[in-house]
């Protein structure tokens, strides 16, 4: 996927002026927040579940090598194969080789953010495969040639009218002549077109929400059933996922599933929760004849040993972005890569480099709501700040901001001088204010006064008044 994170500011400005996007965002925001709240309010043990979920993940991460090897041996025992990919390129190469060996022409895909992370579609299409996204949201953005803007609702930025236009444009080849207005009509249209693709696919690629070490199973959750058609109909099933998805037992997976649905969409459970264990056995009516799991590292083992380790607990529910005031204002595309919102602002710099993604950890008010709603209690604001600390140490801060900070710091460390200068400066500001109450414009504070007035200081500084009072 193309990296546009260095243009965060410009993209955010465009997003703020895009009225259709703003409409789509405000509609989605309330829905996610209210539904999650209703679901967790109905479950008194939610808080205890969070603690349990966190403990499961922490334990697994501390013994990651053990559980991954156990998972691999169980997959092999079920007739499948595990492939290890240290980078995106390696992962794509592995999948290309499997698909070529299967003489595949059509490849269906379930929604996979790891697939986006490694730019899998681009790699497959460049090699001549026809790739069909089967998750409705992913299908819509595939038609629109856009990246996802949300990790669980990839087309959340699209309005119904835009989707209707897209189908009208692209489905004429399937006989669609008029524009469809209602959601059921649109869903039925997608279902009909996708059905034939499911039946013609040679390879099905899905992601995984969890990998279970004790059984070698992979788990996906969907609300459309598209994942099941992707992993049972084609001859070959490839699971493209990353190493931190492993959990020790089936029991552990069910604990995390209880957290995932509620945090993501406010559902107790998603409509479909599918456990896939190995290849089709003798006498079974469906299931793939080849079962491959590609396990991606792409920087994750480095995170295991540094201050971003907690981020590996993430179960990709999207609650952090649903509750983020910045995400809610600019949407996912502004962030410029696969993972948007708070979790993305932590992950992206680790995957594409802090220099390219420098804006992301800064574009946060550190309001803390993401950590508050995170089912895995990931300290997202702390990690956003850690990126800022790293950027400061690597001298990545813009020169002007650095100097402003230096001058301020010089003064703040010298209280007597600071108070003397503050008193003079505030005196001038107060004089300029001249009882006006607010400034509509202030030199050097254009960023503030562009859309806000600047409240004028009351008069003398507190310290000046306090000293006068004490000596009186």
């Amino acid at each position: 996927m193309q990296i546009n994170s260095p243009q965060f500011k410009q993209r955010a400005t465009v997003a703020l002026q895009d009225m259709r996007l703003q409409k789509a965002l405000s509609k989605a925001k309330g829905g996610f927040i209210d539904k999650r709240l209703a679901a967790i309010s109905a479950l008194p043990e939610f808080e205890a579940l969070r603690e349990r979920g966190k403990a499961i993940k922490q334990h697994t991460l501390e013994n990651l090598d053990f559980y991954l090897e156990r998972f691999e041996s169980k997959v092999i025992a079920q007739g499948g194969k595990v492939h290890w990919a240290s980078s995106s390129e390696e992962a794509c190469q592995l999948i290309l080789e499997i698909s070529r060996a299967a003489n595949a022409k059509v490849i269906t895909k379930g929604k996979s953010m790891v697939g986006e992370e490694i730019s899998l579609n681009e790699a497959l299409e460049a090699d001549g495969f026809k790739v069909v996204e089967t998750d409705l949201g992913e299908y819509i953005i595939q038609l629109a040639h856009e990246p996802p803007s949300h990790i669980i609702a990839p087309a959340v930025h699209k309005t119904r009218e835009q989707i209707s236009d897209l189908f009208h444009e692209h489905h004429q080849q399937y006989g669609l002549t008029q524009k469809l207005d209602t959601v059921p009509e649109l869903v039925n249209e997608a279902r009909t077109v996708l059905r034939s693709q499911f039946l013609s696919a040679d390879v099905g690629i899905t992601g995984a929400n969890f990998l279970i070490a004790e059984t070698g199973s992979t788990v996906i959750v969907t609300n459309e059933g598209n994942g099941d058609l992707t992993n049972t109909l084609p001859r070959v099933h490839i699971v493209m996922t990353s190493i931190e998805k492993v959990v020790p037992t089936l029991n552990d997976a069910t604990t995390l599933l209880r957290l995932l649905g509620r945090s993501a969409t406010g559902q107790e459970m998603t409509s479909y929760t599918t456990f896939t264990t190995g290849v089709r056995r003798e006498g079974e009516l469906d299931g793939a004849q080849e079962f491959h799991v590609v396990l991606l590292d792409n920087g994750r083992t480095t995170m295991l040993g540094d201050e971003f380790k907690d981020m590996l607990r993430c179960i990709r529910c999207g609650a952090c972005m649903n509750h983020c005031p910045v995400y809610g204002s600019v949407g996912g595309h502004a962030y410029g890569w696969v993972y948007p919102g708070p979790m993305g602002s932590v992950l992206t710099p680790l995957m594409i480099g802090l220099k390219a993604a420098q804006d992301l950890p800064n574009a946060s008010t550190l309001c803390g709501r993401c950590e508050q709603v995170c089912p895995m209690k990931i300290p997202l604001p702390t990690m956003l700040r850690q990126h800022r600390i790293n950027a400061y140490e690597q001298d990545l801060m813009p020169t002007r901001a650095r100097w402003a900070l230096k001058i301020w710091a010089y003064l703040a460390k010298r209280p007597a001088l600071y108070q003397k200068l503050a008193s003079i400066k505030i005196g001038i500001l107060g004089f300029l204010g001249g009882g006006r109450g607010s400034f509509r414009y202030l030199p050097f504070a254009g960023a503030w006064t562009k859309n806000r007035d600047f409240p004028a200081p009351q008069g003398k500084t507190f310290m000046a008044q306090w000293k006068a009072r004490k000596s009186a």
Binding site: V330, A412, P415, A422
Partner: protein, 256 residues
């Protein structure tokens, strides 16, 4: 009531010092009403948050040491800000986690740090205030105070004891106002969008007055309210509780 009243050191906060001294004097009045003696150590400037949130840890540590030294001899350190109080109470400890000697000092310091309304309700066990403010008021929960310091009921409990005051809740009172310290200067357009949503929620309550416990948030919201021609007045919660609202509201001119 203790026989010799414990000594409270007021951490003024840099914004109150520069822009709204009335908040500091309101805090002093309230703490004295509760029976404690208050002093203001002069060796204070800022808690260090601008440096900390910009990633400059060395400067933050120096400022943290300066604050801890300035407040060494006080039983309590009280700030009329959830954000600065949280910096003192939680983040200083983080800053020194790799140095056992300084860590212990920071932990000892942290135990004495409070935000004003929680100090009044939890330590002073203040149940009501002596103030008169016959207005419809809505309260914004500032982020650090709410999520790090657990400030939610404390200001509301005291506001409800103000004579004539009618407290109305706005929708999404716990959603950030878009201030975020330097955030609002680095990303002014995003900040504007967030504060515009906040202003809409304030207006939906038909409140005459907006209040909160953090001056940064209040200046941000007051600035947007004023720019959009709103009649809503803005006061810091300490000013209302101390009955010190006899000066123009934040961002408001004399006689407006």
């Amino acid at each position: 009531m203790p026989t010799s009243p414990p000594k409270v050191g007021l951490f003024v906060t840099c914004l109150v010092d520069l822009f709204r001294p009335n908040v500091g004097f309101s805090a002093i009045k309230l703490i004295e009403q509760a029976g404690y003696s208050v002093d203001v150590p002069e060796q204070q400037t800022c808690c260090g948050q601008p440096a900390y949130n910009s990633g400059d840890v060395p400067t933050t540590r120096e400022l943290a040491r300066q604050v801890m030294t300035a407040f060494e001899n006080y039983d309590y350190v009280v700030a009329p800000s959830g954000s600065c109080a949280s910096m003192l109470k939680f983040h200083y400890v983080e800053l020194f986690k790799d140095n056992p000697v300084e860590l212990e000092k920071a932990q000892h310091f942290a135990q004495r740090c409070y935000e004003l309304t929680s100090f009044l309700t939890e330590i002073c066990e203040m149940k009501q205030v002596t103030a008169n403010f016959p207005h419809r008021v809505t309260y914004h929960d500032s982020c650090s105070g709410l999520r790090e310091m657990g400030i939610k009921q404390q200001p509301r409990q005291l506001l409800n004891s103000v004579t004539g005051l009618n407290l109305v809740e706005m929708k999404e009172s716990e959603t950030c106002c878009g201030f975020g310290g330097t955030f609002c200067l680095k990303y002014p357009d995003i900040s504007t969008r967030i504060v515009s949503d906040k202003v809409a929620n304030i207006h939906h309550t038909d409140a005459e007055v907006l209040t909160a416990g953090d001056l940064g948030c209040l200046m941000n919201m007051a600035g947007r309210l004023s720019r959009t021609g709103s009649k809503v007045q803005v006061y810091h919660v300490a000013e209302i509780l101390a009955d010190m609202t006899n000066i123009p509201a934040i961002g408001e001119a004399e006689g407006e």
